[in-house]
């Protein structure tokens, strides 16, 4: 039970780890082994691994083609993808679509409710700032943060997780103890402490030239990478035992080559799925941080701080709170549905049986 999405820790119900069929997809190793716990359905490695090994690239590729066709069949995921792309494009081209700049003031329309007059679709605040425009800019900011969080934490988590899983030993131990430690801390509190400092820019960590989006993204990534690292570690632990890895070792391939050429490609499915979870979590967490005043700060518009700014007048100017929030809901729901579809598509063991 938490207030913000944590990193998609295996077994955590915060992450939408259950798809529409209700199949549990908690991946990677469990924090603890729970007998009788829904088992881990991380995509079983299929023939593609072996095919790859024996040079049958064709077969490996058809695996992806199969995944793609499965994804395209997932109507909800496809619909969400379309909606999400539309929303993101609106954000990306905010400068062209928005009728106003995010801080432009329209004194003729102060505290206007949602209306088509003067294109104030989402209304205006007490300064006459157009909330439709501000939301568009907010989407841009929030999406930027989420994008960087997912890229950063995926790269970091994958690197650490794969090395820990592959080599085991002290490296693995260190990683596991470290993530255990992180788990004992309330994630939001750690974020807040970190953000209170780094977010202000009073500590110059050489990031000074970066915008605050990137600072916030960095802080979030520091929290989110451990989840991915655990997942990847779990996958690598089981992959390590596979014949083709043994074969590659026996034939004298170097460790790095084995990791990147043989094992990583076979872990891509769960990694991609987890990346979507991280992205959704990052959007929610960033909005919460910004709402509390520790994330993206005004005047930069982010969906969270727009809501915070609207809060004072929300009883009368409800639109200031409702529209930015709805935007978050739509974005996160789309991402989760896409993640759901991806999981269906990328998990070959999962055969849907329809009633």
């Amino acid at each position: 039970m938490t207030e913000v999405s944590r990193p998609p820790e295996p077994g955590s119900p915060d992450a939408p780890l259950v798809d529409l069929d209700g199949t549990l997809y908690a991946s990677g190793s469990q924090v603890r082994t729970m007998p009788g716990a829904p088992t881990d359905l991380a995509p079983e490695l299929t023939d593609s691994a072996l095919a790859h090994e024996s040079g049958l690239e064709l077969k490996a590729r058809s695996q992806w083609a199969y995944a793609r066709s499965r994804f395209f069949r997932h109507r909800l995921a496809m619909g969400s993808l379309v909606v999400l792309i539309a929303v993101l494009l609106c954000g990306a081209f905010a400068g062209h679509i928005a009728s106003y700049s995010y801080d432009a003031i329209d004194l003729n329309n102060i505290n206007a409710g949602p209306t088509t007059t003067a294109h104030h679709y989402f209304g205006t605040d007490q300064l006459g700032r157009d909330y439709f425009s501000r939301v568009l800019y907010g989407i841009r900011t929030s999406a930027r943060v989420a994008f960087f969080v997912s890229i950063l934490s995926t790269i970091l988590g994958t690197l650490v997780g794969s090395f820990a899983g592959y080599f085991g030993g002290w490296l693995d131990n260190l990683l596991m103890r470290f993530t255990d430690l992180i788990l004992t801390l309330p994630p939001l509190a750690v974020l807040l402490v970190a953000a209170a400092r780094l977010g202000n820019g009073t500590i110059n960590l050489g990031l000074f030239h970066l915008g605050q989006e990137y600072r916030v993204a960095l802080i979030l990534a520091l929290l989110f990478w451990t989840g991915i690292a655990r997942v990847v570690r779990g996958l690598f632990l089981s992959l390590r035992e596979k014949e083709y890895v043994e074969a590659a070792k026996a034939s004298g391939s170097g460790d790095v080559r084995i990791i990147f050429r043989h094992m990583l490609p076979n872990s891509m499915g769960p990694i991609i799925v987890n990346m979507t979870l991280v992205t959704a979590g990052a959007i929610l967490t960033e909005s919460a941080l910004s709402f509390l005043g520790f994330g993206i700060k005004p005047p930069t518009a982010a969906l969270g701080n727009l809501i915070a700014q609207g809060e004072t007048q929300m009883q009368t100017q409800w639109w200031l709170v409702v529209f930015p929030g709805l935007t978050i809901v739509i974005i996160v729901m789309c991402i989760n549905f896409i993640g759901d579809g991806l999981r269906d598509a990328l998990d070959p063991t999962q055969r849907r049986i329809r009633a």
């Binding site: 009788g36 055969r351 849907r352 049986i353 329809r354």
Partner: protein, 348 residues
């Protein structure tokens, strides 16, 4: 001939999946007579389990569905019973022993409880201590030492063999008229298998139940069964008396199964598996389902075009002998190595 205990007519069971309709059981007809042991053999996926579980309503529905057929048991068609009536049959007059004793018992409930529950489900009026005595008696019957202590234990405190004994005890708890043993020994060690077979025989003697024994193991059939059904791709391809089938198999698939057994005395290669894969149950090829793998067919058009009916064969032997091969008569003279006594002993 006595009245059959169970009489299945033209049973068909389908599973609806993403990829299409799986015709897991496709028109199966057979009888089980009182006191006999009927063996069902066939490759994995041939529909052995589904053909029996479906009549008790034990296949997942959906995706499964019994699309046609009749299963007369004690004067009633099981397929027409209401859920409630069917429930009264299960575990009572018809009971099942499943394949994997490691997963077939509930891990969080005590053995004694799980057995007692079976009795109470059908004899609600029995008092708790009566039930307990009854359960302990059952545990003793199946050869579980210290039944009083075992009564209080959880499944994980039992070995695999002990669990299967408990499963058998559970199955005979209500004196069933028909016992279905679905690969009762497959999951066990070879040494344990022999013991469990003994327990199964004891159970049969105790209850005088007719038994359906599902297995991959022709050796087991040779030892336990009176009559045999050979299933392939959801259909019966051969049916007959156990001696007849072993002495004079009249379907190429049955011969293939026998050939693929390890032979102790033979000087040929040890194993000769049937070439090829079982057909897709979704898009059944026309003609004989076995034709792509059949050594007898030799590309004959009839095999590819016309589905062979299950028809009576006269190959000597006693009782009814049926085969679903257009050219069964060409197998005249074929006999299985298993029919030779020395080998039959070796295989069990």
């Amino acid at each position: 001939m006595p009245e059959p205990v169970l009489s299945i007519r033209d049973l068909a069971v389908h599973f609806t999946t993403d990829d299409g309709v799986v015709r897991a059981v496709d028109g199966v007809t057979y009888d089980v007579y009182p006191g006999e042991t009927l063996g069902i053999v066939g490759e994995s996926g041939s529909g052995k389990s589904v053909s029996t579980m479906s009549i008790l309503g034990l296949i997942p529905q959906p995706p499964g569905k019994v699309v046609s057929g009749e299963a007369m048991f004690q004067g009633r068609d099981l397929l027409k019973l209401s859920k409630k009536e069917l429930r009264r049959v299960r575990g009572n007059s018809m009971a099942i022993v499943f394949q994997d004793p490691m997963t077939s018992l509930n891990p969080v409930l005590k053995i004694g409880f799980q057995l007692g529950e079976t009795i109470k489900a059908h004899h609600g009026s029995e008092k708790d201590d009566e039930v307990k005595d009854h359960v302990i008696q059952l545990l003793r019957t199946v050869g579980i030492p210290q039944p009083e202590r075992r009564f209080e234990q959880y499944p994980h405190e039992f070995s695999g063999g002990m669990r299967q004994r408990a499963m058998i005890a559970m199955a005979i708890a209500n004196q069933p008229a028909l016992l279905i043993a679905d690969e009762p020994t497959t999951a066990l060690d070879v040494t344990i298998q022999a013991q469990i077979l003994e327990v199964l025989k004891t159970a049969q003697d105790e209850t005088h139940a007719a038994t359906i024994l599902i297995t991959h193991d022709l050796g087991l059939i040779a030892e336990m069964a009176d009559r045999v059904i050979v299933m392939y791709a959801g259909k019966i391809v051969e049916l007959g008396d156990v001696n007849t089938i072993f002495a004079a198999p009249r379907h190429p698939y049955t011969i293939g199964l026998m050939e693929s057994l390890p032979r102790l005395t033979a000087d040929e290669d040890w194993l000769r598996p049937i070439p090829g894969q079982p057909p897709s149950l979704i898009n059944r090829p026309p003609g004989c389902p076995f034709h792509p793998r059949c050594f007898l067919s030799q590309g004959r058009a009839r095999c590819r075009e016309e589905e062979p009916p299950l028809r009576p064969i006269h190959a000597g032997g006693t009782g009814v002998h049926l085969s679903a091969c257009h050219f069964a008569e060409e197998l005249e003279g074929a006999t299985s190595k298993l029919a030779e006594p020395t080998v039959a002993e070796g295989v069990t």
